[in-house]
């Protein structure tokens, strides 16, 4: 037994700060009177901001800690910054929403902090045991958050999310056990070394990796493991949906990238075909099903499934050492683009939502442009970004993704991506048509934090798309480190 050193703690410090802060806040919250839970929200946001500041100082730092169970590198720091920013947006969207729908509870923000800390641990995990622990740490608070509004639909979505999530983690941990059996280790680098040296049972290793893929497929909502997504996204409180759509997806993909690129490059010949099929099926199914939706939350849920397919595209050539760094950087770039448009569009949904689940049909957006032109313009930007139409971040992200698919030698996949993007224009533009060309009298809620979030994400979506090289280089250096 070795005593932990300074390096061990430095490696894991962002996670440690946030976890300790969340535990302390759990106690502090007891002394905050019921009417003033805004203080808890502020303290939670402060905790994330402090951690974010610290994470930024870690750019460029590289180390492993705790017997190389966790790693700190450019990739994890990039993911940490992205996840912490998602946490901030999640709190900003929740602040007004929880007050408006009578679900002001201090636990909300604390559970959100725990979930973010699980996501960060996932980004830093260098061992399959940590991957499993982090997966549970990020999921369990999300199960509770989905059910937190105590409405019948919200409770139902919590139960469904829990049952399918627990089912999926069963697959992850069974896969991990088989990999442990095949290689005698759960450390990612050791698994790679064992696999390269030739393991006694290659079959066991392949089945293990495939089971991991199934488990993560559930988490990132890739078809055919996406059945829970529409129900959970629709039933959960909208502010929770916004947070989990971005956060859980980022964490799931970051773990997929790290685990497969570090531990299983030797399995690439077998897995590439499976990944190709997963990506294609997810894009086609997500976009086709989204067309027939009338509820905006459900439509955005199917859109989230479709985007999981696009991001999976970055992952298909992971075994090809020449293309993989660019492809994974494209994946990270797209995760940023998706997270930004995602928070913005859910923010607009929150602005129009009324009690009893009213105001969530796409027809309810009719006439928005005449009454609230700024909000309608922001929503248009997000819809265009999700389609991949210039001048938005989504368009640049898709360009990088398709380019890396072509470079990896998968023109068919790029073509499917292009065609499904064109198809998706139909249902995204339907929202825009409703806002600009139909008559209606929508009412919105004015909340400063909500307005700030939507405004900021809308401007970022457009502005960053003019200087994408900067963000892409950040992602690329993060992967190369």
């Amino acid at each position: 037994m070795t005593t932990p050193t300074y390096t061990d703690f430095y490696t894991l410090l962002p996670y440690l700060i946030l976890t300790v802060w969340a535990c302390v806040l759990l106690l502090v919250d007891l002394f905050i009177p019921v009417g003033r839970k805004g203080i808890t929200a502020f303290l939670a946001a402060l905790g994330i901001a402090v951690t974010l500041g610290f994470s930024i100082t870690q750019i460029g730092a590289e180390s492993v800690g705790f017997s190389s169970m966790v790693a700190l590198d450019g990739f994890s720091t990039f993911a940490n910054i992205l996840l912490l920013s998602s946490g901030l947006f999640g709190i900003a969207l929740a602040y007004g929403y929880t007050q408006r729908f009578n679900m002001v509870r201090g636990e909300y923000y604390i559970l959100l902090l725990f979930s973010v800390s699980g996501m960060m641990l996932m980004a830093q995990a260098n061992d399959l045991i940590i991957v499993f622990l982090a997966l549970e740490l990020l999921s369990i608070p999300l199960y509770v958050l989905s059910a937190i509004s105590r409405k019948l639909t919200s409770e139902e979505s919590g139960v469904k999310y829990f049952l399918l999530g627990a089912f999926a983690s069963g697959f992850v941990v069974y896969g991990t056990a088989l990999i442990f059996g095949a290689t005698g280790s759960t450390n990612l680098a050791a698994i790679f070394a064992q696999a390269a040296a030739g393991v006694t049972s290659g079959l066991l290793l392949t089945i293990g990796a495939a089971l991991l893929l199934v488990g993560f497929g559930f988490k990132v909502a890739a078809a055919p493991f996406h059945m829970w997504t529409p129900d959970v996204y629709q039933g959960a409180p909208t502010s929770v949906t916004a947070f989990m759509a971005a956060g859980a997806k980022i964490a799931g993909f970051v773990a997929l990238f790290r685990v497969f690129a570090t531990a299983f490059p030797s399995l690439a010949p077998e897995l590439t075909t499976i990944l190709w099929a997963l990506s294609a099926v997810t894009m086609i199914l997500g976009n086709l099903t989204a067309i027939s939706q009338t509820n905006i939350k459900r439509m955005l849920a199917y859109s989230a499934i479709a985007h999981a397919g696009y991001i999976l595209m970055a992952f298909v050539p992971y075994g090809n050492a020449k293309v993989a760094p660019t492809a994974i950087a494209a994946g990270l770039f797209y995760l940023v683009a998706y997270a930004v448009s995602n928070f913005g569009s859910w923010g607009v949904v929150i602005a129009l939502e009324k009690a009893e689940g009213k105001g969530l049909e796409i027809e309810d957006y009719a006439g928005l442009a005449k009454k609230y032109p700024a909000l309608a313009a922001a929503m248009t930007v997000f819809m265009l970004s999700l389609i991949g139409f210039p001048p938005t971040l989504g368009m640049v992200g898709k360009f990088y993704l398709f380019r890396s698919a072509l470079a990896g030698g998968f023109p068919g996949l790029a073509l499917i991506g292009l065609v499904t993007s064109l198809l998706s224009a139909y249902y995204y533009l339907r929202v825009v048509v409703n806002m600009y060309m139909k008559e209606g009298d929508p009412e919105i809620e004015r909340e400063p934090w909500l307005a700030l979030t939507t405004g900021f994400t809308a401007i970022a979506t457009v502005v960053v798309s003019f200087v994408p090289q900067f963000l892409f280089m950040l992602a690329y250096t993060a992967v190369m480190r």
């Binding site: 639909t153 139960v159 627990a166 056990a177 005698g184």
Partner: protein, 103 residues
């Protein structure tokens, strides 16, 4: 000594029974039981792999099994709370009757 493959077969059978339970049972509590069976199959696997590996001195497999116990307990406590809160409002734990959202 019993060969390793027997343990692996037992674990695979247990995992499959759990999987079957999750897929066909309609009671939410029974689905939860199925998930627990799946996780316990993993524990059998982990301990068997550890016992038959060359590295008996490293406690990896056993420690992982204990972590799986702990995590499963945490998960079940949250899950049962969710199921109970749904039961109080609707008087049912049948998954098919949780149908306000279309599946």
């Amino acid at each position: 000594m019993v060969p390793l493959s027997w343990y692996l077969t037992l674990a695979a059978a247990l995992f499959s029974i759990g999987l079957f339970g999750v897929l066909v049972r309609r009671n939410a509590v029974a689905i939860l039981l199925g998930v627990e069976l799946m996780l316990n199959a993993v524990n059998i696997n982990l301990v068997a792999f550890w016992r038959y590996s060359d590295a008996l001195t490293s406690m990896g497999g056993q420690v992982f099994a204990i972590i799986v116990f702990a995590v499963a307990a945490a998960e079940v406590s949250v899950g049962l709370a969710l199921v109970i809160s749904a039961y109080r409002r609707r008087n049912t734990v049948i998954a098919d009757e949780l149908d306000m959202l279309k599946w």
